[in-house]
């Protein structure tokens, strides 16, 4: 029972830190949904904007410092769920895993799971995601 509860909590934590990109464009031309990458480093900036927000952080790739561009949802949605421009201050170390960008030589990710290096949520309570879609959804046609 206890182990089930922890499994459920772990799953919930993973979900709440996942930031989908919605509503504006397909991610397929830009990011490879069949692959997953992970990187860790200090935040350089968080831009909460419409139609997309972006998180930038640095890490080393093959001994060279690079800046990652992580595509997030629109500010209009993120701010409704607790994000502010102070949610990830410059210098905060984050661990980010997500779909890698397709362009050669680019360092981008989307559909990312963002945590602290130990895997814990980045905000108290972890309420940093879009609302989950209702089972079955609504009407579509």
């Amino acid at each position: 029972m206890t182990s089930c509860r922890w499994t459920a909590l772990g799953l919930a934590a993973a979900l709440i830190a996942t930031v989908p990109v919605i509503a504006h464009h397909s991610s397929a031309p830009f990011y490879d949904a069949t692959k997953k990458i992970e990187a860790q480093g200090p935040v350089t900036k968080l831009l909460l904007r419409n139609p997309h927000s972006f998180l930038y952080f640095e890490s080393e790739v093959n001994g060279k410092k690079v800046e990652w561009q992580v595509e997030l949802g629109p500010a209009a949605s993120l701010t409704r769920t607790g994000w502010t421009s102070d949610t990830l201050k410059p210098g905060t170390i984050v661990r980010v895993s997500g779909q890698p960008s397709r362009a050669e030589g680019s360092f981008g990710m989307c559909c990312a799971r963002i945590t602290r290096p130990d895997g814990s949520p980045i905000t108290p309570g972890g309420r940093v995601t879009e609302e989950q879609q209702p089972p079955g959804g609504g009407l579509s046609r």
């Binding site: 509503a23 464009h25 561009q69 209009a76 701010t79 609302e131 879609q133 046609r141």
Partner: protein, 247 residues
């Protein structure tokens, strides 16, 4: 009081009478075709986010059953389409029939001579004229020119005068829309919900009209639409992550 003053006062009074007259005419027109009991209460702020419906994608709201039948011209455009061309990456607003399905809130205001739709996405405002006016040569635009009427407890809207848009059908499938695009909408209440059927026809790109039906839920009390304020820099930023189709 000299003659000049009398003339001025007279002109002001006449102008005021004309204005009041026009306002009354405007107020009478929409109820001429529908009794007050037939005018549905569509006003308020409506939630079109994932609370109400699945988020838009390549297959939503245009899925297997209602995906439009494209003509050869549309297929040719679709084949050469380059995502980087898409004007949304430079903050050009979404158009009908896509803007209605964007997963945000919208505000509907019903006035005697018009219904105003304000969309949180892209800060867009559409005015649906109920007073029988016709479009002029100056009424071409991304949102076109809309006229409407109440009928059978529903608001019927017809929009034309759209400008060509390389992604004017939706945000996902690279289908353009032309200056001959026409969009028909029917809005009605279903209990607490607002529902709409949106139908698009475009003789330059579609073999026959296509439509979807969707819904909105009432937004929570006190909710205010936020400003979209599209940011051109971050709007185009994803394009750097995509292999270029054309050199």
């Amino acid at each position: 009081m000299n003659a000049k003053v009398v003339l001025t006062v007279g002109c002001i009074a006449a102008a005021a009478a004309l204005c009041v007259g026009s306002a009354l005419v405007g107020a009478q027109t929409p109820t001429a075709s529908a009794s007050p009991s037939q005018i549905p209460d569509l006003g308020g702020i409506w939630d079109g986010t994932t609370r109400a419906r699945p988020v838009n994608s390549e297959r939503v709201p245009w899925g297997k059953e209602n995906f439009p039948e494209l003509n050869e011209r549309a297929l040719a455009y679709q084949k050469v389409f380059d995502e980087a061309l898409s004007p949304k990456y430079d903050c050009q607003p979404s158009t009908s029939p896509a803007i209605q399905y964007d997963p945000y809130s919208m505000q509907v205001s019903q006035w005697p001579d018009r219904v105003v739709f304000r969309y949180e996405k892209d800060d867009q405002v559409r005015t649906v004229w109920l007073d029988g006016r016709k479009p002029t040569i100056y009424d071409w635009g991304i949102q076109g020119f809309s006229v409407g009427r109440y009928e059978g407890n529903a608001l019927l809207v017809e929009t034309d005068h759209f400008v060509f848009d390389i992604t004017g059908f939706d945000d996902y499938n690279g289908i353009p829309s032309s200056q001959l695009k026409k969009v028909r909408e029917r809005y009605w209440r279903e209990g607490q919900e607002l529902r709409a059927t949106v139908t698009v026809e475009d003789q330059l790109f579609l073999r026959k009209p296509a439509s979807y039906t969707t819904r909105w839920l009432p937004q929570r009390p006190g909710y205010q639409l936020s400003a979209w304020d599209c940011d051109p820099e971050t709007s185009r930023a994803p394009v750097r992550m995509m292999p270029q189709k054309y050199k």
